[in-house]
Amino acid sequence: MMLGLVLLPLLAGLAALAIRARRLRELLLLGTALLHVALVAAAALTRPAAAEGAWLALDDLGVLFLLVTSVLFLAVSFYAVGYLRREPEQQTDPEEGFLFSNEPEPTFVACLLLFLASMTLVTLSRHLGLLWVGIEATTLASAPLVYFHRQHRSLEATWRYLIVCSVGIALALLGNLLIAGAAGPAGSLGLDDLLARAPGLRREWLEAGFLLVLVGYGTKMGLAPMHGWLPDAHGESPSLVSALLSGALLNCAFLGILRVRQVLTAAGDSEFAAGPLVAFGLLSMGLAALLILRQPDYKRLLAYSSVEHMGVLSFGVGVGGVAAFGAMLHAVVHSLTKAALFLVAGNLLGAYATKRMAAVRGARAVVPASAALWVAGILALSGVPPFGIFLSELTILRGAAAHDLVPAALFLLFLGIAFAGVSAQALPMALGGDAGGRPRMREPVTRILPPLLLLAFALLLGAWLPAPLVRLVEGAARLAGGG
């Protein structure tokens, strides 16, 4: 059952390479996505008991992130069908005007499926080494996705993404090895036996291992100051890829850190992790909020907002208690909102062919549905109530305010600065006056339905949390927050 979840997209990806007919390939993509969601839902409901020490198993944390990843992948694949069908072979670059062609479609679809397979592997693995292999595989699978538009800027972004992330993940490998070493020569990286022998581990190596894993997977997760690669990768890759990158991949990287935090908690040393997590959280939020103020390009703006929200996650888990529950909820809701926003950004890019926010005005008249979604998404991102992010950020604040007010005040200050920066430039795009004489464009369903559904789901989570989901998030919070 578990292996099936990983193998399905893997095999589909390899098959996609072979298929020449576009329609058949699209069918394969959609079919796999639907089947994957079905399997994950079935697994989440039935929760098959995994044997002790098994390499692939489902626990609350894994299920939560896997659910988000597969739902997101379904939405993105539905969007991708429309996107690929309309994407011309040869097109001119909006910024610098040279001609460039795209990556051949089969490789793009194959890499998408491999990307899903690797992310599934990460969420399911109960072995830290296997987890590392999964995360490295996500990097390798997503590199060609970022390089979809064959032109020098996305090439440079891909190179940076590959090098920075690989170095980061290699550091994480070093961390994993240190953790294994902490259990003495016979140490293994299986999560279950690490948890079992946790009190006996050599404390100093375990802590050094956690810190290296935190920096390593933190690079992949986009925590500041290791976030350098994120704005370029998101800015240059097609919007549906950045949706997957921001929505699903960053969560998986965070999962890596949480797994090691589980080991620390089992060793009775969970307080050790609180300090660095809160520090990285606040640093990311502060740096991202300030950089957002001067960002002229809306896709890079969303990327920096991802850095900030990863900071919120790290801060929430660091504070622990109720805030951990808020952080887990925030991971889910942020992924949904950010993915929807990236898809809508893709629509706006399609309509206005420029990424500079100052050049986009009056979207309300040109692409009304996307403009409405864009405004709703921006407000949702900034924590306006009916949407889920307000709820999660308030829960995190509630946890933080129980201790002392200074970190909570900083938390709110950075959110405020980011809100001012984002709303100052993003809202006039939709509500602004003259549309520069652009005619009203037809917006296909495939471009509007996915972001609409994702935002609707985020809105639902803001107003009504279904009971099973609450249990799931509580379980995940207990595992992650050093309960």
Binding site: L140, A143, A170, L174
Partner: protein, 220 residues
């Protein structure tokens, strides 16, 4: 620790200095390959005594991949690029050697500090840390994409060495997975180097006209 392994480790240290000092590409790639093979040999020696055949066999496979497959890939990319020398890297070669010495000192210091458990040679740990720092240094300071890929490879070797002395035997699958990832990573880097060359006729990572250096309009 057999004398052979000791010899291998000293050669690794020498290769590190060669990598830091050299400017021509081909010897650097060959040096990286040699380093991979030597470390795999040490792994083979270590494991053969303790654990058993099949993990030792794995070490041979690693040697094969790191010694011949990856360098061959990089050399093939190099031939298409017709670039032979690393021109004015960010940090001069002499300074790099100085850094090498410092890194070696740091390696020894770290291995003492962490007081490795019994049966782990402090020399292996310090060589591992030194190789790791050399790899990082190469990635950070060299301009050419190929040298950065090689830097990543050396960095990988360093971690492999530390992994050896910290957690000697790993389940087969994980070892294979790590190896596979490194292989694919370098393979993808090779492809991208090819594309960089095709578009730019140079492989200076720094001069790829980075997006964020474009003339910035006035702030928000």
């Amino acid at each position: 620790m057999s004398a052979l392994a000791l010899l291998a480790l000293t050669v690794v240290v020498l290769v590190n200095f060669r990598l830091l000092g050299g400017s021509r590409m081909v010897p650097i790639i060959r040096g990286g390959a040699l380093q991979g093979v030597l470390l795999a040999g040490v792994a083979f020696a270590l494991r053969f005594e303790h654990v058993g055949a099949e993990s030792a066999a794995l070490a041979i496979l690693t040697a094969a991949i790191k010694g011949f497959l990856l360098p061959g890939l990089l050399l093939r990319a190099l031939r298409q690029v017709e670039i032979r020398r690393e021109v004015e890297p960010f940090v001069g070669y002499n300074l790099s050697l100085l850094f090498g010495a410092l890194a070696l000192g740091a390696g020894v210091l770290v291995s003492q500090r962490f007081a490795p458990g019994e049966g782990v040679q402090p020399l292996l740990a310090s060589v591992g840390v030194f190789t790791l720092l050399t790899g990082l240094f190469l990635v950070v300071t060299r301009r050419k994409a190929i040298t950065q890929a090689l830097g990543y490879l050396v960095f990988e070797n360093g971690i492999y060495a530390i992994g050896l002395c910290v957690a000697p035997e790993q389940p087969l699958l994980v070892e294979l997975g790590i190896l596979l990832d490194v292989l694919v990573a370098v393979f993808v880097m090779g492809i991208i180097i090819f594309h960089i060359q095709r578009d730019f006729s140079h492989i200076d990572v720094d001069a790829l006209e980075t997006p964020s250096e474009r003339p910035r309009e006035a702030g928000a």
